[in-house]
Subunit: 461 residues, 4 copies
């Protein structure tokens, strides 16, 4: 199963469109480190550059110089499958009967297999395994005269989560699926309009935040301004709660609300639900920082940064040889012995998936001389796979689906373990509980998933 | 003036010498991001690989596979001059009358100009502008029969700061100058000996810390074990206090003491000297984190991480075009508006050099909606250039040498500004005050500097 | 108008399939220097590697090591348009409803515009501007159940010249269009079958020549052996006579006959038609060598190599700056002054297209001190563009269409000029006159060309 | 033993100095394909670019744009040893007490070991194993005040063959050793002076040939014009006769005489000494072409080019796997079967060294169906190694030193074999016999060689 786990950005109406998109992607780099790409147009020409690698590696001065135009669309991609290939880098674009079109996608279609099969039967040839290519083929196959109608027809056939941006030579188009799984916001920079996954991408170019693109909304942005339509029947909102818990940047607002403050609330609630008597509260950096701050403040215990993160860890780190690996090298995170020695510690994790990294991490804290180690987790146990774009493993690999909390506590060699409750998590959110998808915690999937896909995810990918 | 501002590492007696050195350099990457290199020997062959770039870029699997041997010496380099070139990457090595020799150097010689001139007069030809090449030439020119004597003769001619590691095909040699400016420690990994600038490089390979190499000490490590000599007359110790304040990693111990805890003490002392009534204490990440924690704990005010650092910022970031630059882009650090809005803030800096980055940073906090901004600095005003390896600018550019504290406060648009006092800083240190060089604060230089160099630094580099 | 001007090679049934294909392409490099590619399969896996550049640059040891399989198909490409791009490199391949398929093509379709248009109307999306992609789309769109039938249906829709090789995971398929424009031969290497544009590609791997693939023939080669069908109605054979005159390698046999000897016959006939009284006969190297040998032998005049070719001239030669260009640099061919001085010279060209290079070349001979210069051309005047794969310019640029022989003689600053006659050329051929396409000489096109394409070629490309 | 086997070029007084040098090196590429380099100065700045690879690969537009100046010195290098490394690429250059100096060298010093040893004893450190570095060190070590005197002192210490060009920021200096082994000529391009190994490098930039630099001459070329000195005692001239036989380009004049015509004379003389009754005379391309033409003309037998050379053969050709190698692939040269079948052939080689390539080549002719094969060689048997810059193997590997002519004939599977006689060769030369070094034929070495070097060459390198 391919999962598209990504960040998207676009701007219309600025002569430095490609450089601003570059900056926007830079701010969204945490949403995908595998490949990056930008499509740009000046109304006449249309150019695309995409490559495997980080944004800063993919784009050099001379490349950006060449990407001239007043509209641009960009993408960073995270591959959730082992196979990653330039063929699957976005923007995906083609020249077809209506001219040129490019698309970037954040989300995951759940009926891709059926759609591909149907179109291949009719002679379609696919270049990639990307959801975004399917959408383009659906548009190309539509008999509707008007592009807008063809787009609506195509979107009405896809099922799943999608925050999309499309562009041709004259406009950019933002789309958010009717369930609203993934965030997409609208901003303005002087006269130009901006679309982005998170507000941190508006901040970096000093654009002003206007509003969220709403679930089920399509916005067309061109020289005539911005036009919004909502052609689909409304669905129960199903915002991805994991964007708040782990995925988004703390300095971003998503779905209209701030991530940092939300995480602090989670930490405070956690302190209420699972208080602990320790000498210090410390986060697993960096994602656990904010819940740990909330926990420490609520429990009036010292906050310490007992594990130091190496800032130069990149994707290209070479694995040490087998002999060295057994040394259990601390490439990324190093505990500070003089801080931890003989201390009772509460360590705050944002979430536990397989439990393997947590186990290793706890071991290094014992090695550093900790006296007691208590773990607190700022979300409930993850028991169900996600079909809408978060890369959880199959059910059998999720530790919380297979072990009791007690078993996990023992497995991780902890003195105590506390997970935030589902009601506690929802009450800490800045939006009403019914707005969120919580399928990974309680298995209530807002969109039915093809049986085959569902079965795969129970066993293995 | 060339300044060698670097990290060094070496290991003797392990068959994975080059991969362990790679890991050690990885941990020392913060000491130099310009170039990296490793020399390795198996007793017969001698190989060197060095390139411009980060450790993870310079070394690939196939390169490390080729660097076979049981002893290795590594280096990461920071160029303090505008000109950086592979010619100046280390290890510097040559084949000469005594065989092969390689050297890595952390520090700065103050009599390099005179030494070069003398040797060129006698027909010497230099390949680089590195201090380390001078040392090799001095060894080559020595008439002493025994290598050890030639080394001592050479070292007795150089003046300045130096923590060196040399190697030939059969041994590694660690040297620390008699003043002890720069750190160098000794560790053990099973039967192998390790030398490194900071203990974080021992941690990453799970080596055990043994002791510091002492000021004026030379250690020879080979198949017969470790031999130590102290051939120079003792000098007043002059440990670089800036290693504690800013330069070393918080998880390292240097000169035998922990950096994280020392910085917390600085923050606590600062809270005592300059208390402030605010809603939150926040650091300039990441170097201000630990003093800020100390300040917050001592003043019982909430600690918040109001500025978020982008983890993907690398060396290759492309400058935006002039038009975009005026947008004051927040590439590296982004303030969290919802956290800062309408708040009275104390922001903790580790130090102020030119004042330009501080000024910009304070502006972004005002823009984010702060109500009051008070800055506290965890060291005294820097008024004098460093000749021993820290890259401070010339005297005329040091803001504290040109402006009163009041003027600086106004210049940075702060509500208040407080610098830690010199006695306060020294009393927070884990070693006696007389152990340190504090020349950058009070101008008391432990080694006289050539007049020309000194004059240059008053004007421009 | 895209012209595909290329070399093709394939092998089935040898475990070193990709390395043998590499060698085959190496021998066919003169047929295309822009890009090279190989597709390979072991029956289960299917891999493709293609890049811009010469064969020796595109394929490195580690790449060939990875291309494991017992069947392989290869291609070298010459771009006749200014725009060259990796998108247009071959083999073109896709995964579609029938599995995987790859194709390489030598020739030029004349109804590509219409075919593309029709298929795009039905929703097809094209990745490239290559004829080979059209053929794949036609196969994918066919409703025929059996692959063989779908292939025949697809081929029956295309018009133009094509020598094709296709492959999937289990077989290679050779196709030659019913007119037989482009060569394609069959060979054997122990138990393996080989297909190649010219026999020099059999020689390099020491394969044995079996026979030509006949016009209109399709051969399927797989584990069951070789199967031949001829599903199309026969057409008047139209072998490209220019393959003998200029394009093929002299050591190749094409259409079953040797190129070197054919060119010698052309030279002998030329000596009969246009005798000349000179001190020496010399070729324009290297393509004029063999006609010049024939001419010299027939006229009993000394053969000399008065112009020396620089063997290191590659595609990447940097153009000198404008100031230097005026020096009329002799990068590629240098006349030997001491050989030419005060001599009466007959220089043998294989053909004259625009006349610009000939003009420059003649000037360098005058500069070298020649006393008389007589040019003899081993084919008739080229007056008509080629639509089947030879890169002649538009009609207005063909010097022979615009000037009389006398005018050309004067334009080139020659003492005399003689073109071989059309009957003379045909009588020198090793096959009957009616076998050949001679459209470029007499405008008799065997396949009618779309009006638009035809018109374009009258004006500009 | 390092052998420097190279081409040199320089120009003074032209604002496009680096591009003209690039062209000159392009023309001299046959003298060295391993590395290329150019040093350039505008009187103030001094820049060098050198890399492994062919001239066309090493220099790109942007690199030449950056090499601004009115004087330039260039070099192409052939490594005669297995080890080739960028460290040994030329120009070799240093900054030393007198400023900057660069040097390029064609030839081979025979007392390098002694010179190195002496200087290392005095503390000198060598970066490379190049003769040119030794010369620079000798200049640097000289106590003479004037540079000219230091240069003369340095040159008086070296023994061997050398055609050198040196430059600093203001002048270029040409030197030819007193024996005159290697060619070096002087030309003029408008007001600019040019130095080059062969006249083909003058031709390519349309420079006018002036004269040879004489044995033992030093020319200084700067803004004051050209100044010549001859500070050494004269020696018996010892021009390398192999430059005429094999090494130089046929379109070049060397030592003032044309190579093409000289080779034709060798062929004519060979026809006189060893006539043969055959159907055709053919060369081993391309070096045998001209002797073959002479042989064919003198014997009135048809000249044919029975072996075709692949023009795309470069240095990077990948070796086929062991299984394929046994196929005896014809990568570089392919015989034309239809031309050779049932023919009696005389094949002309320029020389036989080890005999291994000749053996393989003869086999391919038999395989192609030849009826008789007679080989004629345009120089006498090579029986002695060269110490002055030609890469012959050690004595034991020279086939003519170990086998009689009869044995060689049989070993190569020939019907007959004829070597040109020593008097025959000398009488075909355009200069008096006593001008040449013929050591490789008769062992009469003009300069005594260090015993150790001499001994090495008897055994192995």
């Amino acid at each position: 199963m391919t999962k598209e786990y990504c960040g998207v950005f676009a701007i219309f109406g600025h002569k430095d469109a490609s450089r601003l998109t570059y900056l926007g992607l830079y701010a969204l780099q945490h949403r995908g480190q595998e490949s990056a790409g930008i499509a740009v147009s000046d109304g006449e020409n249309f150019k695309v550059h995409k490559e495997m690698g980080l944004v800063s590696k993919v784009f050099k001065d001379e490349i950006l110089d060449n990407l001239t135009g007043h509209l641009a669309v960009g993408h960073v991609r995270y591959s959730t499958t082992g196979v990653s290939h330039i063929k699957n880098a976005q923007p995906f674009w083609v020249e077809y009967s209506r001219g040129v079109i490019a698309i970037v996608h954040n989300g995951n279609l759940v009926n891709r297999v059926q759609l591909c099969h149907d179109m291949e039967e009719r002679g379609a040839i696919f270049q990639s395994t990307m959801d975004s290519e399917i959408i383009i083929h659906l548009i190309a196959h539509s008999k509707k005269k008007k592009f807008e109608d063809a787009l609506i027809e195509a979107l009405s056939k896809i099922k799943g989560s999608y925050s999309l941006i499309l562009c041709d030579k004259n406009q950019i188009i933002g789309v958010r699926d009717p369930f609203g799984f993934k965030p997409l916001c609208l901003g303005r920079l002087n006269g130009a309009y901006v679309l982005a996954s998170e507000t941190c991408a508006l901040d970096i170019i000093q654009a002003e935040y206007i509003r969220e693109i709403e679930p089920g909304e399509i916005v067309f942005i061109n020289k005539d301004g911005i036009k919004s339509i909502k052609p689909f029947s409304p669905q129960k909102h199903s915002l991805c709660i994991f964007e708040f818990i782990y995925f988004s940047r703390p300095d971003s607002n998503i779905f209209g609300k701030n991530v940092y403050l939300t995480r602090k609330c989670l930490g405070k609630q956690l302190a209420k639900e699972y208080p602990v008597k320790v000498d210090m509260v410390m986060p697993v950096p960096d994602s656990g920082n904010y819940a740990a701050l909330g926990f420490a403040q609520a429990s009036k215990i010292s906050f310490e940064m007992g594990i130091i993160r190496n800032h130069y860890v990149g994707r290209t780190f070479i694995q040490p040889s087998p002999k060295i690996r057994s040394l259990n090298v601390k490439i990324k995170l190093n505990p500070v012995k003089d801080v931890l020695k003989n201390k009772r510690i509460a360590i705050i994790e944002d979430s536990i998936v397989r439990g393997t990294t947590s186990k290793t991490r706890v071991r290094t804290l014992w090695d550093a001389g900790a006296k007691e180690i208590h773990m607190r987790v700022s979300c409930p146990p993850i028991k169900h796979p996600c079909f809408y774009g978060i890369d959880f493993p199959t059910k059998t690999e999720l530790i919380a689906d297979n072990c009791s909390q007690e078993q996990i506590c023992k497995h991780l060699s902890l003195n105590s373990l506390g997970y935030l409750s589902l009601p506690g998590m929802l009450s800490s959110m800045p939006l009403p509980p019914e707005e969120f998808c919580t399928a990974c915690f309680n298995g209530k999937y807002p969109i039915t998933v093809d049986e085959k896909i569902s079965k795969d995810s129970l066993e293995n990918k």
